[in-house]
């Protein structure tokens, strides 16, 4: 019980207080100044390193899942193989680039001005795949808007009118389409700006303040050991 629950909870409390306490203390303070400096510099560096390892945790899970799928020849296993191939090649290029082995001299350009293999992969595989994948949504936006508009209530109407004005007001096509109206080339951008700076700002501020209050209270619950789901347990 101590090792599995109480120790992690005690560590959460102690380590969680470090950034909060050091935020209020000066590094110039007579006795505690050096300790504050230590906490700010060294602990922060430690955490950056641990965060690096934590980010790679997901990679292990994906590799495990894909290998299992290939071993058991589950439906779609060739796609798991292509996922693994992309991961292994790109990951290996990244690690070799970090160690600066042979032609793998960093992430971007090599000393001779050419592209490093990692950059070649980024430019010709990662970037086009990412852009094409996200641009697919452009084709489905129209049907999504149609479905939203079919819900005939005030809220959906407000959403669509705001979206329409913002899109029309921020593109040359909108200016062209409404330019024939008296003062059309002026009022549309003006209305768009007003929506963005007044009602949109109010909504965004409300969301930001509400979410930040929620996040701060969740932080407090974690530090005080009330919220424990991140440890994979709800034991008391």
């Amino acid at each position: 019980m101590f090792w599995k629950l109480r120790l992690p909870l005690a560590l959460t409390f102690i380590v969680g207080l470090v950034p909060i306490v050091t935020f209020f203390l000066s590094t110039q303070a007579p006795v505690i100044g050096p300790a504050v400096q230590f906490a700010r510099d060294r602990v922060e560096r430690y955490m950056v390193i641990i965060a690096g390892f934590a980010l790679l945790l997901g990679v292990v899970s994906v590799v495990q899942g894909s290998v299992r799928k290939i071993e058991r020849r589950r439906p779609g296993w060739p796609f798991a193989a292509s996922l693994l191939a992309g991961l292994v090649v790109m990951g290996a290029f990244g690690i070799l680039s970090a160690m600066r082995v042979g032609p793998f001299q960093g992430l971007l350009t090599a000393p001779d001005g050419g592209m490093t293999p990692f950059f070649w992969m980024t430019r010709n595989l990662f970037n086009p795949l990412q852009a094409a994948m996200f641009s697919l949504l452009a084709f489905y936006i129209a049907s999504a808007a149609f479905r939203a508009f079919r819900v005939r209530n005030v809220e959906a109407t407000i959403l669509l009118i705001a979206a329409f004005i913002v899109m029309a007001g921020r593109t040359p096509l909108g200016e062209y389409a409404f330019g024939w109206l008296p003062g059309g080339e002026r009022w549309l951008p003006a209305v768009t700006d007003w929506i963005m700076t007044v009602p949109n700002a109010a909504a965004q501020r409300g969301v930001i303040i509400g979410a930040a209050l929620g996040a701060a209270s969740l932080s407090l619950r974690v530090i005080l050991g009330i919220e424990r789901s991140y440890l994979g347990t709800t034991e008391k």
């Binding site: 909060i20 641990i50 690096g52 990951g91 010709n124 970037n127 809220e155 979206a163």
Partner: protein, 210 residues
């Protein structure tokens, strides 16, 4: 030659993704899984180059004596992976507790000092004057309060509270509408970029190489 191969690979993968517009098919699924794998590999490279090598590997191999203390984060980092060994999976909780606690502590300070205080300040400090008209300032203050009341679930949204909460929903819909408009524009500009690549860059680079 490397550039020519690169643009044709990029063009093939772009067309594989766009083939989904017809229907789900093996080309799309191949490109989709390749994208997932390449993305993970990309982040491995970024983490290795920007985080682990400069902060851990280089200092440890450069001057071990002066940097032996870095063994602490190294062990805590490696300890995270014990979660994949069922018998000692609980050990990972120690590293997880340290890691989560530090960032949640930072998060708390950042949220209060960097978001709540400045946002409340910008809303209420200059109700008359500043860059906006008094009417716009009033709309802004009413909007922020209405949205906050909509998010306040400790009282039932009935009567006057319900009316203000409904007003908050309208403000939220205006905000979501504006965000929707920006998302559409962003995705359409990505599509234009891909079309430019297929119809201009690909043809130009192939023509230059041949």
């Amino acid at each position: 030659m490397s550039q020519l191969i690169g643009v044709w690979v990029a063009a093939f993968l772009t067309l594989c993704i766009f083939s989904f517009l017809y229907r789900d098919n093996p080309f799309f699924r191949f490109a989709e899984s390749l994208f997932a794998g390449v993305s993970l590999g990309y982040y491995i490279g970024i983490v290795a180059v920007n985080t682990l090598v400069p902060n851990l590997i280089n200092p440890l191999f450069g001057d071990f004596g002066a940097n032996a203390h870095l063994l602490i984060p190294l062990l805590l980092g490696l300890n995270l992976y014990t979660r994949f060994i069922p018998r000692i999976a609980w050990l990972a909780r120690i590293s997880l507790a340290v890691y989560i606690a530090y960032y949640i502590g930072i998060n708390m300070v950042q949220k209060i000092q960097g978001e709540i205080v400045p946002q409340v300040g910008s809303t209420i400090l200059h109700p008359i004057g500043g860059v906006m008209t008094p009417v716009d300032n009033l709309i802004l203050i009413v909007g922020v309060l209405a949205v906050l009341i909509y998010f306040y679930f400790s009282i039932e949204h009935r009567g006057a509270v319900g009316a203000v909460s409904r007003l908050g929903v309208w403000f939220l819909m205006l905000g979501f509408g504006a965000a929707f408009g920006y998302t559409v524009m962003g995705r359409v500009s990505l599509l234009i970029g891909r079309m430019n690549f297929l119809f201009i860059d690909l043809v130009r680079i192939t023509g230059q190489a041949l």
